[in-house]
Subunit: 448 residues, 2 copies
């Protein structure tokens, strides 16, 4: 039994839904389908979920929301009419939106319920369409699927009990179409996951039913070895391990958020990323373990927006607890750090700029001065991080040489190297302005 | 005004003392002399301080100590007779030893007082000898010099008040000879520094009198760019910064313990390491700042005896406080760490084996499992660390490339790289068995 998840671009138009229907029809093992809300039809289009959020916010602020409402209905009408689906389906969607707006609930609950309508309607439409082409399909509400979550609107977490309930879906007959992005609390209240939550639903369901494969259909052919906006036409990655995927996702790989895959990873469900528009391409497989490749580097990820807090103090390494106290100050200020390389008398803490407000930075600096009496504190800004990722990297002679040679030949000064903490990656810190030529040079050294 | 410190080998024989006399005579700025106890005359000789410790331990254990006593007196007699010094000097030394043995003090105090007699007698002999060759020299007891220390026998720490008192030595006329290795508490009790404490005295006095130079006379021509037992006839280092010296000392450079230099460093006193036997050689200068060299690497230090505690946990980097808690556990067990590189889901903590008993290791491992619930804990053993050291290293393109190329060409797998925490060094972790060929290869790349 496979779980197939279709993203927003796969659900955006009737034509796309027909492709989805073909894909489902082709493989009888595709028994459980999880869907996103209809996405953009063209690059400057608006996703239905965004329209629903606008609608909800307008209503809450007492503004006119009718135009938004009409745009949502128009989008669904376009799809249902083109697929010749029964008019009652569209009426049902209209009724659902009106009923949510009319409910006597908190603004937060109302917004969460409205946001979920995109996925919910998508699932209803797909199941109706599958029936219309002769497949035995049915819509399953997440409550009935067993997706029980914490009471945390917009950031719901799956509860462990869910998986056993979801397992029961195996008993159901026919193809089951489940809307992604939301679940219900034990008390029956609807809660959405964080944005991109259809991937989370797909992964949860795949784990719950112990699928043989979790297929994630998107609009890209595969995961690439490097960011295609930096290197044109980069190599595709055929097979990745979970660990490799996680290291790559961390620094700028945007195929999907790696945290979404946690439930699947925990159950060791293999994941396949495929393109709805070219379903016969092999895509990228993400697996728990793979045979060691001769070329151990599978990908190069990169991201900007980092700063480094450098603290030096003569004889720091004689001072038991210095590093711990420094990290404690960050923790008190709610600032998580990415890496904290330390030397004899020096320590650097790499922080994402997004985690560091001016106020937090001032507090942290003041506390370090007052409590740790360092000789120097310097904040280095505009750093970029590059991850060279691959299983076996740590035990292969010469990888660091190749990487540093690539950076030197691009005339890039390496601000930071962190190798050895992770078994599957090597991290380089450089100035953000050097990023593109660093990544290009590294790509050519490892993939040409 | 210069402070010159002469080590044990410079004080071991009459011939050596004559060389010391010449050195002092040659430069009238050499006004304050700090001396060690007479060291070994030949490789299998015994240092006088070790004889004094034997003597003290024999006395404390109620064993016969007379033979030890005779050996000590013989050593001093050999020197004083050869230098034709007055017999009352030797009688004074004999009297001092007897008086310490006879004192009604604790064993610890007695041992500390006995240990100090080597340096104390050395200073008396040198000052008498300098007078005999026509120099106006006088012996100054550390108490009179103003060296006031904490009550911590064998590990006394200088008190801040001392420096102002020592400054008054500038007013004294003639050459002052001060025994190294000990000071006195405010209550007047004698306390020794840790072993090698004459370097500490020299550095304290140089800082106190605000010397223009602190000369440290030993039996080596200079500090070498690499350990001479690994690479034959390595290059000499002409000029080092304090920071470079500290990084080199950390990992196996044994010219002297860098902590001894702290007082001099704090006052920015330049330090010169010279050879008593070849005083006209330039030696090695250690300074606060130096002009940036084109070749930024000044030395390669290395040491064995490290282990790495590897901890991995899926989504570690989302868990605020993980690193801090891990370091906290080490701190609770009194284990200081050297480096703690961290990745996304992994963290390694490098610990000196000498700091980690079996029991501490078991406690730490258990607590990490119980409190942090990691996926994996692995202790990697038999690691060696190599430091490539040089000011400007962090801002020079290609240093990492050269270093990693050297290691790859020696077919060495790099377990760990830590660059960027320190501004003057780059650290490599490798297997201890690969150490010598790694260091050789690095030396040839940077110095040939």
């Amino acid at each position: 039994m496979k779980v197939a998840k279709f993203g927003g671009s796969s659900m955006a138009t009737a034509t796309q839904l027909q492709k989805v229907g073909n894909i489902i029809q082709e493989d009888p093992a595709r028994k459980i389908i999880v869907v996103s809300a209809p996405g953009k039809r063209t690059p400057d289009d608006v996703k239905i979920t965004d329209l629903l959020i606008q609608l909800g916010e307008a209503y809450i602020n007492g503004e006119s929301y009718e135009q938004c409402y009409e745009r949502v209905i128009d989008r669904f009408r376009e799809i249902t009419e083109e697929l010749s689906l029964d008019i009652t389906l569209l009426e049902d969607i209209e009724q659902t939106i009106k009923s949510v707006i009319g409910q006597d609930t908190s603004s937060i609950s109302k917004l969460d319920a409205l946001k979920s309508i995109g996925e919910d309607s998508s699932a209803k439409i797909l199941s109706a369409y599958l029936c219309s082409i002769g497949l035995a399909a049915s819509y399953i509400n997440p409550k009935d699927a067993g997706i029980i979550v914490s009471n945390d609107p917009g950031n719901a977490q799956i509860l462990d009990d869910s998986f056993a309930r979801i397992y029961n879906l195996r008993e159901k007959v026919g193809i089951l179409v489940i809307p992604g992005f939301f679940g219900y609390t034990e008390q029956g209240e609807l809660m959405t996951f964080s944005r991109g939550g259809s991937d989370i639903t797909g992964s949860i369901v795949a784990a719950g039913v112990k699928a043989t494969l979790y297929e994630n259909f998107t609009d890209v052919d595969s995961v690439y070895a490097v960011n295609p906006t930096i290197v044109a036409n980069p190599k595709e990655i055929r097979t990745l391990t979970y660990k490799e995927m996680r290291e790559l996702s961390y620094a700028g790989f945007s195929v999907f958020h790696d945290e979404a895959l946690i439930p699947a990873f925990k159950e060791q469900i293999p994941v396949c990323i495929k393109n709805t528009n070219k379903p016969h391409l092999p895509g990228t497989n993400i697996v728990a373990e793979k045979k060691q490749d001769e070329k151990c580097v599978v990908g190069i990820a990169s991201d900007t927006g980092f700063s480094s807090l450098y603290v030096s103090k003569y004889l720091m390494n004689r001072e038991i607890g210095f590093g711990r106290k420094l990290l404690n100050i960050l923790e008190d200020e709610g600032v998580s750090f990415e890496h904290a390389p330390s030397g004899i008398d020096d320590m650097s803490v790499i922080i994402r700029d997004s985690k560091l407000t001016k106020e937090k930075e001032a507090n942290i600096t003041k506390r370090i001065y007052d409590e740790l009496h360092p000789d120097t504190i310097i904040m280095h800004r505009d750093l970029a991080m590059i991850m060279v990722v691959g299983e076996g990297l740590v035990s292969t002679v010469g990888v660091a040489q190749k990487a540093t040679t690539a950076l030197a030949s691009a005339n890039v000064n390496i601000e930071m190297i962190n190798q050895g903490s992770s078994e599957v990656s090597m991290m380089f810190g450089i100035k953000a302005e050097d990023l593109n030529r660093s990544v290009e040079s590294l790509y050519h050294v490892f993939f040409d």
